[in-house]
Amino acid sequence: MKHLLRTLFGLGAAAAAIGFMCYHLNSAPELHAAVRKGDAMAWLRTDFNLDERQFAEIQRLHENYAPSCEEHCRMIQEAIQARDALRKTNGDDLVAAAEAERTLQQLRATCESAITTHVYQVAAVMSPADGKRYLALVLPKIADFDHQVAPDLKLESRHQH
């Protein structure tokens, strides 16, 4: 019995060491660090193996894209406010409500098109394999924004422009 327990203990200890080693070998410390810091650009850099030139080019693309992002953001906000105001003050006017909703959806579609173009530009800076992986990660979320990203925003408390 003593030998059995001793052998089981040895086996368990060795298995724990092997499990820990496999965990360590397959983890991504830089990705976890980026998550802890909430640094999306650090994630982009480490997860898509960007060198200095690629990283600088992507930062430049983001900076160029930011003004149009802000403009789209402002227009969508105004459209939402207009639609909500219309619903409150004139709820019976279905034509006006539908028009306001259509304007909002058009703005969202324009915005989706702009961000899709932007991420394709970003992907083009990466290596072909990394670019493909990047697009596979972000495009479905952009296309299915209402279901995949919007629910998470309820937890967000600050604007990140």
């Binding site: 052998t7 496999c22 999306a40 789209h72």
Partner: protein, 100 residues
Amino acid sequence: MNTSRDKLSEILQDWRVKPPSDPGFRAAVWRRIGQQGEATWSAYLRAHTAAWAVAAVLTFSVAGVAGRALAQARVEADRETMVVSYLVELDPRAQAILKQ
């Protein structure tokens, strides 16, 4: 015949063994018991080599796969978090929701 047997009985009855006292006797006995225990574990392992080898291969495989799966699950979860965080920074629709 009976006389010689009686003599032998008398001799045996009178025979006393008086060994010299050995102060290290007990320690030597415990040492031998200890050595016997160690040998027994290795003997136990030798006797069950096949069973323990199979158990070791299975246990180590499960541990390795589990460690890898845990690490990958964490990487995927963290990546998902970062994709959402990244898109929130880029997507005006997200910004509009956050500003409301």
